[in-house]
């Protein structure tokens, strides 16, 4: 496939892998956190760990938007979906995420009108076609998806569509990174920073990581070659004692991001004082809500929500996985009580969650340790 094959060339991969071998110091482990779930997915799907020297250790970070939604918010979504007048719309991978009262998929099976959409604009179209119903869009994601929610709300206002609202759960990328950097016993040496979100926010939001915490950062695209390339760039920084924010995704990401998307966000949304992250707890100024003047399109303002807070299940160690303190398979319930078909923690739900990616693609290495091939 044009424009994709180039980034999956085995030959180029071998070259980069060879370069890594010459760059690493034998015995000095370098822990690189890939922040974004998309990177985690790529690492496992293409078997990148097989290509890098053992000194490179990928640690899977918190950048899976589905994984960080707390169970209480899923229950709020289900409560909205169960209202008889509501058509509740959501991206596909939120459907299976378990809350305290099951998942949206189960709510749908019980009779709630839950529909999968590919864009919030599809939800707005449903609102146009069903004027007697209330169409609610389950808005989740980092700054990557937030602008599309912003644009949709602005369009609803411009067209005077009153039966559309967004249940806003958008989160921001900077604060959780800071929370991870501040966590005691942190062992991350450098960061593979997310690509898609950076197309919106640019590379400036990562400056504090290099400046205040002395850790190298490379903003990285999503093809396997991109990740190997970023790994080379980070290892080079570490070997040379530099710590800078570098941009590997130059084909799309600009230093200042996308000004139009940022303007749409600023026009529609403001920071919440605090927001709960699954596994990470409450983080100040880490999420977005619609501005008060858009209350007519804000599901939280228009509908009663249970707002119950649900403790993460005791057995679940998603929080430790999300900050890179443990590997997915070191969790007590990984692969036994918690599997993609019966997830306990959200890291097992989305294909971009560290646990699901590892479960789906990566169990090979550990099997190989036990079973000689």
């Amino acid at each position: 496939m044009r424009f994709v094959d180039e980034f999956r060339s085995g030959e180029l991969a071998q070259k980069l892998a060879h370069e890594l071998v010459t760059l690493v110091e034998p015995g000095r482990t370098m822990k690189l956190m890939e922040v974004c779930g998309g990177h985690t997915h790529t690492i496992y799907k293409h078997g990148i760990e097989d290509l890098v020297p053992p000194e490179i250790d990928f640690v899977h970070g918190p950048g899976c938007p589905v994984c960080v939604i707390p169970m209480g918010r899923v229950d709020d979504a289900i409560a909205l979906a169960e209202r008889p007048e509501v058509i509740f719309t959501t991206f596909g991978d939120m459907l299976r995420v378990p809350g305290g009262r099951g998942s949206l998929l189960e709510a749908k099976a019980r009779g709630a009108d839950v529909r999968m959409v590919y864009s919030p604009l599809d939800a707005l179209e449903l609102a146009r076609r069903n004027p007697a119903r209330e169409v609610i869009f389950f808005a989740i994601g980092f700054e990557t998806t937030a602008p599309s929610t912003a644009v949709t709300v602005l369009r609803a206002r411009a067209e005077g569509i009153r039966n559309f609202s967004a249940f806003c759960n958008h989160v921001t990328i900077g604060p959780p990174l800071k929370a991870i950097l501040d966590s005691p016993g942190l062992q991350i040496d450098a960061f593979i920073a997310p690509g898609h979100v950076s197309t919106v926010v640019g590379t400036r939001p990562y400056d504090f990581i290099a400046r205040d915490y002395g850790k190298p950062v490379v903003v990285t695209a999503f093809e396997p070659i991109d990740i190997l390339h970023a790994t080379v760039m980070l290892v080079r920084q570490l070997r040379e004692g530099r710590c800078e924010v570098e941009n590997q995704y130059t084909r799309v990401v600009r230093r200042d991001g996308n000004p139009r998307a940022i303007a749409a966000l600023e026009e529609t949304m403001e920071l919440r004082d605090t927001f709960e992250w699954r596994g990470l707890g409450w983080i100040a100024h880490s999420a977005l809500k619609l501005r008060p003047e858009l209350a007519d399109w804000d599901a939280e303002a228009r509908f009663e929500l249970p707002g119950t807070r649900i403790e993460d299940p005791k057995a679940c160690q998603c929080g430790e996985v999300l900050i890179g303190a443990i590997k997915p398979w070191e969790c007590k319930v990984f692969g036994t009580a918690c599997t993609p078909e019966r997830p306990i923690g959200t890291c097992m739900v989305s294909s971009e969650g560290a646990c699901a990616a590892y479960y789906n693609y990566g169990r090979l290495q550990r099997r190989r340790d036990r079973v000689p091939a």
């Binding site: 799907k45 293409h46 938007p65 189960e106 749908k108 994601g141 078909e341 079973v371």
Partner: protein
């Protein structure tokens, strides 16, 4: 090494139970097999194998609820005939007769129904098997999504045919008869929810000429399946678990249309999990694999056939993929419906 029978712990049936992956297995094994258990049903293969008066018969049934009813490359009618013919064919049988049951929603256009019946007739003629009996029911408007079709079929298994997971050996080769993922992606795009303009057609077809050509090679043919719901990944995972072997695939050798790769890429779906309706996957002894490939390619339906992998002794029960990139990964069964990623 047959893994423990999965438990069905859900309180209600969800769409995931219909997607052909792990949840479907839990529903079938944890409920239906538990209640209906008998030696004919227990192997849960595409067809049951019956012995009557010294002859062996394959017997199978399947229901079709595809939406949209008409899609590029086919419709619910030829799909229903081909699907049941294929379930018989991969059991090594020559189909003898089919049945067809129709659940029709009040208000369904007669012209559409005639078009569907004609397409069934064409598919049955190509496969050389009559639709020998049938049934119709009409339900109130809103009680069925236009039309559901159920077909069943019976076929004769020649005495010399021996197929099954227990016959699969390390070193055997894995062949597919053509490009994978065409049907599932064609239908997904035809639903019109994606605003993608892609030229994709369902691969719906009877694989009978291909299975008959392979069976000419005798005992070298170990096992055959038509990888429908859940895709090639699910069919091979079931094989790996039932046979207690590993299956290793080479990503670079998988026949894939660029349009399927592109659509899957956009949606974050693995083509290995996408349904096929006119494809065959077979395990063949290594020394017969070239002959088997030639046999498949000699028929137009098998023009894109390829050797895509091999059977290994370990790690038991797993399907592995050597990525074109040079790494390795596991290929798991599908869990629930393939859900597009958010970003």
């Amino acid at each position: 090494m047959r893994p423990r029978r999965p438990k069905l712990r859900d309180e209600v049936v969800t769409l995931a139970h219909g997607a052909g992956g792990k949840a479907t297995r839990a529903l079938v094994e944890g409920l239906f097999l538990e209640e209906l258990d008998n030696p004919l049903l227990a192997p849960l293969s595409d067809s049951a194998l019956l012995e009557l008066n010294g002859s062996r018969f394959a017997f199978t049934t399947d229901s079709y609820v595809v939406k949209p009813i008409f899609f590029p490359g086919g419709d619910i009618g030829d799909l229903a005939v081909n699907g049941t013919v294929n379930d018989l064919a991969v059991a090594g049988a020559r189909p003898v007769a089919l049945s067809a049951g129709f659940v029709i929603e009040e208000g369904f256009a007669v012209a559409d129904l005639r078009r569907i019946a004609a397409s069934m007739a064409r598919a049955a003629a190509v496969a050389g098997v009559p639709v020998a009996t049938g049934d119709t029911k009409v339900v109130e408007r809103g009680k069925a999504d236009g039309l559901y079709v159920t077909t069943a079929g019976i076929g004769v298994v020649p005495p010399e045919v021996e197929l099954g997971p227990e016959r699969v050996r390390p070193g055997d080769r894995v062949l597919v008869s053509g490009t994978i993922g065409d049907h599932g992606m064609a239908v997904m795009v035809a639903r019109g929810e994606l605003e993608l303009e892609v030229d994709l057609r369902s691969d719906t077809a009877a694989v009978l000429p291909l299975t008959l050509a392979l069976l000419e090679l005798g005992g070298a043919i170990r096992w055959m399946r038509d990888p429908t719901r859940g895709g090639l990944a699910t069919a091979l995972n079931e094989l790996a678990q039932q046979a207690g072997v590993a299956v290793s695939l080479a990503e670079a050798s998988l026949p894939l249309r660029p349009a399927v790769i592109g659509t899957c890429e956009i949606l974050g779906i693995d083509p290995l999990h996408v349904a096929n309706e006119g494809r065959l996957v077979a395990v063949v002894a290594a020394d017969a694999s070239d002959a088997a490939l030639a046999a498949l390619r000699s028929h137009p339906l098998g023009a894109d056939a390829a050797i895509v992998g091999e059977v290994r002794a370990a790690p038991e029960g797993l399907v592995l993929l050597e990525t074109a990139f040079g790494g390795n990964r596991i290929v798991d069964m599908l869990v629930g419906d393939p859900l597009p990623r958010i970003c």
